[in-house]
């Protein structure tokens, strides 16, 4: 089985979010980048397929050279090869178009992406790849097993879960639950050394006109101070929630 794991390169979850150039660009100053958490769950599940079912795992990112340390980290965790499509990610649609080409050219059986990237929270790339390649697609995936050409996928739904049967080629939008938090791997020294020898192929992009554009950013207005209520006076809390906030 050939697996492609789509890796979004995102600011670490603790990053301060600021903008430059008259609030039109994300300020990368001092920001640490990581593998998008949803993709890390997917990559870890791919490692399980590699070890238990002999899958071959390639990771891919659409982005500039600055994303290569993130791809190297995925190689250090155990992916066999990496691809970088050499173009800044303009919008979800153009990223999906680039990835759909990688998917078609590479003949992958299983494409693992994340439910959403934690930066722009687009939540659209995996579904768009599926639409563009006409592959089966399951989003909010919290369980995945593959047997030959068939797959059993568990999807989170509002208030529960749903188990579906489908077949390869398959694209999933993964999230926590696909593996447990405790299954996540920190690259060790040997992994990091080996990652240096593994192929990282840089592909030139195809020409695509984005459908959407970011015009400007704004930060939420600072919040007023908290109103403290004494634990001995919870009637006041109830009264505030009822009369002032009008939520109960």
């Amino acid at each position: 089985m050939k697996i492609l794991v789509c890796i979004s390169h995102v600011p670490d979850t603790t990053s301060k979010i600021n903008f430059t150039d008259d609030n039109t660009k994300f300020d990368t100053n001092g920001v640490q980048y990581v593998i998008n958490p949803n993709d890390e769950f997917g990559l870890t599940r791919a490692m399980w397929f590699k070890e238990k079912q002999g899958a071959e795992v390639t990771v891919v990112n659409v982005g500039g050279a600055e994303t290569e340390p993130t791809l190297r980290k995925a190689l250090a965790i155990g992916a066999d090869a990496a691809i970088r499509v050499n173009v800044a990610a303009a919008d979800g649609f153009s990223v999906a178009k680039q990835l759909a080409k990688v998917v078609k050219d590479g003949g992958y059986d299983l494409i693992i992406a994340g439910r959403e990237s934690i930066d722009y929270n687009g939540g659209m790339v995996p579904g768009m790849i599926a639409g563009l390649t006409n592959s089966n697609f399951v989003s909010n995936c919290i369980g995945l097993e593959v047997d030959g050409n068939s797959a059993k996928v568990v999807r989170e739904i509002d208030g529960g879960k749903e188990t579906v049967n489908t077949s390869l080629p398959l694209i999933i939008g993964g999230q926590k639950g696909l593996v447990e938090e405790s299954d996540l791997r920190i690259p060790n020294m040997r992994g990091i050394m080996m990652a240096r020898q593994k192929p990282l192929t840089v592909l030139e992009p195809i020409d695509i006109a984005p459908e959407t554009a970011s015009v400007k950013f704004e930060k939420p207005a600072p919040k007023g101070a908290v109103k403290l209520v004494s634990p001995d006076n919870l009637d006041e809390l109830i009264s505030l929630l009822h009369n002032e906030a009008k939520v109960i």
Partner: protein, 319 residues
């Protein structure tokens, strides 16, 4: 040229989000000088949509569509959009709508904006405000395609009544091969879900162990709320994964969010900040949650929560 809205239903009944997206669509239609057409799939009584400004209903009724299928539903909505020559298509942010929308976007060559908060600030060029960076910023987002697809953030626009009379038309779209077959659905039918809840009661590691969740469930019960938890609580197996909220868990956009024994780490706050009113109960007055909350009680959950339940019961009895 109308605005088309997909109004979701569950077992024949509209979800509340259906009325919210219809309200939103009506407002956009007014801006564009047009009307709203709704597409419904197996909704029993569509007259309720008239309260929220819908002028025409395309009614799909088909027993084979009982269980949701993203590809099939996306194809049905696409056919409705094409039939109506709609230029703006509106869907909700439910798990199912977020699943089908990227497929629909490709089918329609429609630029897609997710997590939309407001009606367009401008219609030519078409610009909407959305959240980005998990509620840490807003983005003004321009869509350049002829057809535009908007996914509306839950609880951002609210319900706006706008009485209309709607014509209703049975619609029989062609149904594509899906490739995906539902084997089983596992869903607690008697519980309020985090997605639908107006109030969410959430607890963290401060509760010490799973055996102490009785009072959390009771508090939720009194308030008609859904229960949720912080990430370590689900990682430790104290609560099911489906309850984990935050940046890497479920997003929460309820009217009221009550956080008990949760410190307020940035990753937690990011996922719940879209909630309108936040209450924190924590022994540590320095816990970061107090900076994000509207109301706070510095106190021991094991004392405060049972007391709050008692007082709420008395309050509810009076109402």
């Amino acid at each position: 040229m109308s605005v088309l809205v997909y109004t979701e239903s569950d077992q024949g009944r509209f979800k509340k989000t259906a009325f919210e997206v219809a309200s939103y669509a009506k407002s956009v239609a007014d801006q564009l000088g047009t009307t709203v057409t709704a597409i419904t799939i197996n909704a029993a009584d569509t007259s309720e949509l008239e309260t929220y400004g819908v002028s025409k209903v395309l009614k799909v009724t088909n027993a084979s569509l009982e269980s949701f299928n993203a590809k099939i539903y996306a194809s049905i909505i696409q056919q409705a959009v094409e039939k109506e020559s709609a230029k703006v298509v509106v869907v909700s942010s439910s798990v199912n709508s977020k699943y089908l929308a990227p497929l629909l976007s490709i089918n329609l060559n429609a630029g897609y904006a997710t997590n939309v908060l407001e009606t367009p600030s401008n219609t030519a060029p078409f610009i909407v405000k959305r959240t980005a960076f998990t509620n840490k910023a807003y983005e003004m987002f321009q869509i350049n395609t002829d057809v535009k697809l908007l996914g509306i953030s839950k609880n951002s626009f609210g319900l706006k009544e706008n009485k209309t009379t709607a014509s209703s038309e049975d619609f029989s779209p062609s149904i594509p091969e899906s490739g995906i077959h539902v084997e089983s659905v596992d869903k607690a039918s008697n519980k309020v879900t985090i997605a639908d809840a107006e109030i969410v009661v959430s607890a963290g590691r401060g509760l010490k162990g799973p055996e102490n969740w009785g009072m959390i469930e009771e508090l939720a019960d009194v308030l008609g709320a859904a229960t949720a938890c912080s990430k370590p609580v689900s990682d430790l197996g104290w609560r099911p994964h489906g309850e984990h909220v935050g940046q890497t868990g479920k997003p929460v956009a309820s009217n009221l969010y009550i956080a008990i024994g949760i410190s307020g780490a940035i990753q937690h706050l990011a996922g719940i900040n879209a909630s309108k009113v936040k209450v924190v109960i924590n022994t540590d007055a320095e816990a970061p949650f107090f900076k994000a909350a509207d109301y706070g009680v510095v106190g021991d959950a094991f004392v405060v929560v049972p007391e709050l339940i008692k007082k709420l019961k008395a309050f509810k009895a009076q109402q």
